[in-house]
Amino acid sequence: MRRPFRLIACALVLAVLASAALPRPAAAHPMGNFTINHYSALTVGAGRVDLLYVIDMAEIPAYQELGAIRADHNTDLTVAERDMYLSSKAKDLAGGLHLIVDGAELPLTPTGTPTLVFPPGAGGAATPTLRMDLHYTAKLPADHGSLTYSDSNYAERIGWREIIAQSGDNTALRDASVPAQDVSHALTEYRPDLLSNPPLVSSATLTFVAAPGAKGSSSDTQQAQAAQRGITSTNNWAGQTNSAVTALTDLLNRKELPLEALLFGLLLAFGAGAAHALSPGHGKTVVAAYLVGSRGTGWHAVILGVTVTISHTIGVFALGLIVLYASEYILPEQLYPWLGASSGLLIAGMGVLMFWQRLSAWRRNTANSTAADVQATNHDHEDLHDPTVPHTHGAFSRPHTHVAADGQKVTMGNLLSLGIMGGIIPCPSALIVLLGAVAYHKVGLGLLLILAFSLGLAAVLTAIGLAMVYGRGLAGRVKFNLSQSLLGRLPMASALAVSCLGLLIAYQALHAGITR
């Protein structure tokens, strides 16, 4: 009964890796592509009312808003455009906000540094969303009174509407109609679930009284955090995007680019590439499965990593070119699925081939199992370290040596073709950077950034490959003692897994974009 157990355990390892690495469909704004979402955080006390007002527009309203700023809908705003937009917006929106204390309306004055970011939306940076964080302040006429606040901006538009109220220093709040803590973390997390409804709060009432010595419940913690998030945040819902990519496209958006910024950009690109390699959707699984199965060496891992990276870079360039020159006839978003599908099918085919090769190898092996067992007890097979030098792995093991035991060889052809197929799947993040650069007439910068991005990717993929080789070596040693069976079958299982993953990638690509 132990053998099936081992198999299942082995399958579980693969499953976990696969599920972490599989591409996920891009997520739309959780509140819907049409929504305009509102957030107001009031801090009442210390003689004034501070308001953090956040507007988060989903893809469609963001697009309309951008059109109002510039006819070309680009997020590439100059500092002047940005400042002008924010200051006029701060004024406009203040017109829809009403702060009434003891019956008298208090004027809300824009203060602090407003921020404006364009996190990528459901279709990546081509469909940006828009988020602005505005700060207002108003002087309180007394240290106690009753306060009413209402937000009538975009009153008819669907969306999340949240208001919170917190006390400032020396002040306590009574009978507040709104909570002191927020649900959305300043519109960075929307979680509509089946048993709760999005808040639709557009007004608040409370009374405030003097409370000498009371420490404000918010000023330096929550609100500062919220403001911080407002600047750096990308919406967590945009599944595959990450902050580095946002910062990159943001960087590209700037007209003036000092040297520090360029270096910073390259570093960011490197980091984004590395992070991208860790995020779902790449050839990692293929790399891992292949190396586990084929007894690859560290060099193989490096070669595979580099091949994936180069082919990926080429893929991005090629897709970029196609997108640029063929948009009259082909809609770019319709290209992805076909590319995904074809590379998926290629991977699947490769997997079948590998399976066939390994099946024959395994048959040869089992025929010679006695010999193999004898050889196995020597357990000296090759690995990263000098195989002949005794060494240890981890806390559980005793000193031993490794030398390769079976006839399965890694061929350069296999390695290269697998690397190419694993890398050619178009990567939206990199494509965003490239297309962004082209769109902003900074092709050179774009190429540089892509290169840095690819280097980051290479570094991590290679590291993963090395880790797999190392880890497999350990696994191999132990199972080796038991019998030929598991180790003999592992390469086949991994070959099948490669096929299945290829099919899955192809299916997903087709399902997401073409059929229906």
Partner: protein
Amino acid sequence: MKVARIGSTLLASAVVLSLAVVGVRSTQVAASSHREAPMIIADPQADNTDVYAFVSPDKPDTVTMLANFNPFEHPGNGPNFYRFGDDVLYEIHVDNVGDAQSHITYQFKFTTQIANPNTSDYTTGPIEKIDSANLTFKQYYTVTRLDNGTATTLGQNLLEPPARVGPKATPNYAALSDAGIYSLNDGSKVFAGQADDPFFLDFSIFDLLTVRKLPGNVGGGQDHLKGFNVHTIGIQVPISRLTADGSKPTAPTAANAVIGIWSTTSRQTTRVLSPGKAPQGSGDYVQVSRLGHPLVNESVIPMGMKDLFNSSQPANDAQFLNYVTDPELAKSLHKIYGIKVPPAPRDDLVAIYLTGIKGLTMPANVKPSEELRLNVGVPPTAPGKISNLGVIGGDLAGFPNGRRLADDIPDISFKAVAGVAYPLFHADYTPDPLAAQLGDGVDANDLPFRTSFPYVAYPHENTINDSFVNPDGDVIGAGGSSNPPPAAGGGTPGMPRTGATDNSHLADFYNLLLAALAAVGGLTLVGGYAMRRRTADSATHK
């Protein structure tokens, strides 16, 4: 052996694949431009909620029959939204023979006249009189009586009182409502209009798994219909106009004493396409709702048969016999409370729901059919002696001998299904004492009933404009609430924050964490095997 090994390899791969597929999540948002017509489940205007029939307590030579429609009318919602349907045929049927046929049918047809189509207001000023010029929508109706198919118009152009809007628009509502009581040319009285929903119950009684602890018959329930209105049709008819021989029975045992009552609503079907594009919309009436006994759909007819029941005729009720003789509810009561219930077939329930009780509500030569049977020879019980448990409470003028407004139907129904009435038919049977404790904990209506026709209480008034919850704060399904209920545990304010706030970075760490967990897991597994193997090895070698 080889085959087996290949098989297990495939198995391992299959596990990988299946798990991997589970990992694929799709979040597709629908766009829509095709023509999406609504698919309504409920049809409130034609939804028959309750039927009542009793010998009028203040006029014992007449029978009052009431039928209610349009459940969950909230006083706070737009009054022009709640009305009788102009295209619905409302009928109250009387079977005075016992052969499951409608021998007397009262038909009600409504017509709305819109005085001013360009205003969105129900009224353009206070309504002091039923025919006020300030009323934008006026609904008139015609009452027709069919005697074995022969039609007689009893009244026409009868103006329905307006819905109750609020203290400003309908200041003296009682007078307005009373002005809507008309005498017909055969000595009957009729009323059609808005009223308080006279039914009272706690819905959770239907959710047996969450039902309150026994005893359920002594308060503690929530009246989920409290605060809601309905549209009521009522008719008060001299007994002699209802019996088979046209005379008032001399005693409860008289041959003409038992009548069966039910109500129906119908809408017209139509030919989807007719050749030559002939005139449309004049198709046959299709019965869409039917009601006699209360709670039959809920406690006897299984959910899947509801549509069939609503479209069926009493004459075909044999098809539902099995659900009465061996009801699911009885089995559930036994399972959940451990109550001993009488064995199937349940002739007691057949009597209550289908044939009438012998000696009280069973006509001679009865054809079993689901009708609310009333012995018009039983005089109304004197006020002090009324039991709201009706016959099982020793009050022979109450349910299931007809149904009075105050009869506590949920309690009676559950007790009856649990076998409380079984000894009436099997003297040697002793019901489980727990059966008498069944009930929903709601024992009376939220408003007192009126003492004369139409008896139902005046409708609730819109007092809190923006509250869409009933006065208890319960949010009721179809009531038109705009507010979600308070969340359990007091909602958001005190909710602790976790460290994981900025998820954009977290996504990467999350994947890293997964990989690390998987790696550590795998290594631990392998290490465990190593240890085990070594132990075993050393054991055998020594």
